[in-house]
């Protein structure tokens, strides 16, 4: 049986999640108005959110370093990003002499827009049964939402590569090249790590994935697909160019990498794009692995009547989850140093991708076996078995595999012969230590 056939069988084995949340037909005008309002609200909250996240980053970073961070503009410095935005708009834009100006101008836009586009399909609250019909709380509840996200996410690299290329600067170009290599490598792992989720959901619509994670207990995918979540988390760090994967903008090596030549608002756009990407990645993690807007341990949010209060509460819960992941992003950034380039590549190709592939197999086989044994997705046996499998795998991964193999240190790439050479050289150095001359000067 090929892997593909196995996947298909496994997917078919999972009962389709209830279609309860699909919107009932509304009148065209109501749909149109609702979409416009949703767009405005999403955009506003998103942009304000980016500002707040930038503030949070600076505050958390300062606190971690025993400093205070921005605390002058507004209460606790909350308006610092506004002040910075005003400053950046006022500043002069500089263009490098030999830059490819159209691409140079286009690059920040291209890096920012995909992060924004992804939000179109992410459901951010329980649907609302208004008197104009059911309003789905996603901008565009696409049936192929997840594929859309994969497609859009891979566009993000263009902004960075174009910025590096158009700047006519060696450092920028190196940053852009690194970024393209990094993002392409990790996109594979990112895509593969989400397949187990899709197997369990039996669908690629994000609304369905969230619905499938809802329920009386805790049906979140992070319990069913722990390893996939781990791989996704690491790949998301790489995709957003956050430390420890910030090689495209490695300050100590490449000045600022792809945005060395950018100034004023165009630089700001890259900055905003970075945080926008971070929030999008957080939202994806919350949606795919932490139940989206689902409130755990209660059915209240998953069943009718879908009143507006439910939408609001689930919306808040969703943002709580996003902010949690954003905090983890920031926390990790101020904890870890940057990888070496070969470590980055070996982690991506030699560890993340095989792990993700093997895990697809594990989840598919487990699902298939359970469906053959007559254990349905919603039964407690399913959750317990998946949890047991994951506990074993996590122990295996972090107990045995994570022994100098996860991030290869320099010595781990030596074979026995070379290791002996290194040892010998060290002993020779120790033996030949110069003897200090005794006696005073004549």
């Amino acid at each position: 049986m090929t892997l593909f056939a196995l996947l298909q069988t496994a997917a078919a084995a999972v009962p389709q999640a209830t279609l309860e949340h699909l919107p009932q037909p509304e009148s065209g005008l109501a749909w149109f108005l609702a979409t416009i309002v949703k767009m405005l609200i999403t955009f506003t909250i998103y942009m304000v959110g980016v500002m707040m996240v930038i503030w949070l980053e600076r505050r958390v970073c300062a606190f971690i370093q025993d400093r205070r961070g921005p605390n002058r503009v507004g209460p606790h410095g909350l308006l610092q990003s506004v002040a910075d935005g005003v400053k950046n708009i006022m500043k002069e834009e500089t263009y490098p002499g030999e830059a490819n100006t159209p691409l140079f101008v286009l690059a920040p836009v291209i890096s920012f827009i995909p992060a924004l586009l992804t939000w179109a399909v992410i459901p951010y609250g329980a649907p609302w049964d208004s008197k104009w019909g059911t309003i789905d709380m996603a901008l565009a509840p696409l049936p192929v939402g997840f594929l859309y996200i994969l497609a859009i996410a891979s566009l993000g690299v263009y902004g960075i590569v174009l910025a590096g290329w158009a700047s006519n600067n060696k450092y920028s170009l190196l940053g852009g090249l690194r970024s393209s290599a990094q993002m392409i490598s990790y996109e594979v792992a990112l895509g593969m790590s989400t397949i187990p989720v899709l197997i369990l959901a039996g669908n690629v619509s994000l609304g369905q994935i969230v619905a499938q994670q809802g329920g009386r207990g805790l049906h979140w995918n992070v319990i069913n697909c722990t390893i996939a979540f781990f791989v996704f988390l690491v790949a998301a760090f790489a995709e957003t160019n956050r430390l420890p994967f910030d090689l495209p903008e490695a300050e100590s090596e490449l000045i600022a990498g792809y945005h060395s030549e950018y100034s004023a608002m165009k630089f700001s756009m890259f900055f905003i794009a970075e945080y926008a990407n971070m929030m999008t990645a957080s939202a994806l993690m919350a949606t795919l692995f932490f139940g989206g807007w689902d409130i755990p341990f209660t059915l209240w949010d998953n069943v009718a009547p879908h009143i507006f209060a439910k939408t609001l509460v689930t919306f808040l819960f969703f943002w709580l989850k996003i902010m949690l992941f954003v905090f983890v992003f920031i926390w990790i950034r101020w904890t870890l140093p940057r990888f070496r380039y070969d470590q980055l590549m070996s982690l991506g190709w030699k560890f993340m991708l095989p792990t993700a592939l093997a895990y697809i197999l594990v989840v598919a086989v487990a699902t298939l076996a359970m469906s053959m044994a007559g254990i349905t997705y919603s039964s407690w046996q399913f959750a317990v078995i998946m949890l047991a499998v994951n506990v074993v795998l996590v122990a295996l991964l972090f107990g045995i595999l994570d022994r100098g193999r996860l991030i290869s240190p320099a010595y781990s790439r030596l074979d026995k012969q070379n290791l002996a050479k290194v040892r010998e050289a060290r002993y020779r150095r120790a033996a030949l230590k110069p003897v200090t001359t005794e006696g005073g000067a004549d």
Binding site: T335, F398, D402, R403
Partner: protein
């Protein structure tokens, strides 16, 4: 090993990335929650100055509000930066006083020799550091301005009490 990477040999069993990361995250979280901050919120709070801090000058006055200076000329003589301009004058009783006493704070290197050499304990370097001005001329302090300063003055190093106790 084509590129010259420094190789430090460690036993495989002692290397772990995830555990080291978690350890590091615990450390950063500890600092995150630590209420003790090293930042001094400068305009609101100021770090204490050493009692031997040598800042811009101050001329001490007698009880009737005149400068203690007797225009002996020791401070312009000892000044290594040559920043003190002194023109002595004499009143009808034969008391010497400075007609002109100017210190160019831009030339001054704040060595404190003027304070050390002054027999009348008139000129002092001060424990003070906020001196911004809108023009270069503003940094030439005349006698009136030196007398008008109110900040505390430097305590000179005492050989009998080298640690200032």
């Amino acid at each position: 090993m084509a590129i010259g990477v420094k190789v430090i040999e460690r036993p495989i069993a002692q290397t772990s990335y995830v555990r080291a990361t978690l350890k590091g995250m615990a450390l950063t979280l500890k600092h995150l929650l630590d209420p003790v901050k090293v930042t001094v919120q400068y305009p609101d709070e100021k770090a204490p100055l050493s009692p031997r801090w040598r800042g811009t000058h101050r001329m001490l006055t007698t009880e009737d509000g005149k400068a203690k200076c007797v225009a002996c000329g020791l401070c312009p003589t000892v000044c290594p930066a040559n920043c003190i301009k002194l023109v002595p004058g004499e009143d009808e009783n034969g008391n010497r006083y400075p007609l002109v006493f100017e210190i160019d704070e831009f030339r001054c290197i704040f060595c404190g020799y003027c304070q050390e050499v002054c027999p009348e304990e008139a000129i002092h370097v001060g424990r003070h550091y906020e001196n911004s001005e809108y023009s270069r001329e503003g940094f030439v302090y005349d006698l009136e301005r030196l007398m008008a300063q109110t900040h505390p003055v430097c305590e000179m190093w005492d050989p009998a009490d080298p640690k200032g106790e």
